[in-house]
Amino acid sequence: SQQGEEDPQALSIQEGENATMNCSYKTSINNLQWYRQNSGRGLVHLILIRSNEREKHSGRLRVTLDTSKKSSSLLITASRAADTASYFCATPSAGYSSASKIIFGSGTRLSIRP
């Protein structure tokens, strides 16, 4: 039962270019998170954006949230080889419930070509 779905499933870009990944979700949420996973490793939290926020920045990362369209985007600027990883969006499964679980999408596999 997936709440979020990332698009595209795979993305290959040249080092230095910007990478944009999108996430669509189904139910109302109070926050959305993005995670990165390097091959064979655990997930690393990148950024959390709350439903009352439209945009958030962290270093080379920019996340937007459009609650009317139930979608979010993750932009990585000036990509580097080390950005090669899978990126997942994650949302609470029960919207505003304090006991809801975090549900992940199937991810975008990003490859940065040197």
């Binding site: 997936q2 109070n30 926050n31 998170q33 995670y35 490793r41 655990g42 997930l43 690393v44 939290h45 959390l48 997942f88 994650a90 609470p92 499964s93 419930s97 304090s98 006991a99 809801s100 679980k101 975090i102 549900i103 992940f104 999408g105 199937s106 991810g107």
Partner: protein, 114 residues
Amino acid sequence: GAGVSQSPRYKVAKRGQDVALRCDPISGHVSLFWYQQALGQGPEFLTYFQNEAQLDKSGLPSDRFFAERPEGSVSTLKIQRTQQEDSAVYLCASSLDRANTEAFFGQGTRLTVV
């Protein structure tokens, strides 16, 4: 340690064998999650604890799967009579309080059932 620790990192089990996977969350974290991740897929929710209480076990695929967190810290995921379809990476995550905050993941346990 400073992060979430899982052991073992790798486990090979013969079909029908019972296995126990351990998770040491970050000290003081109230919420603890278990996820199952197949190759090339996003993490699939298994179960969620708030302190020692198992609030959601809706993702456990069968009654062969059992999780506990008796003292509200260390958690164990037990799989009885393992089957080949149980082969996956099992991820544990903890967060400071509710499910709607940043989760910190361990490196995972890669289970291979032969």
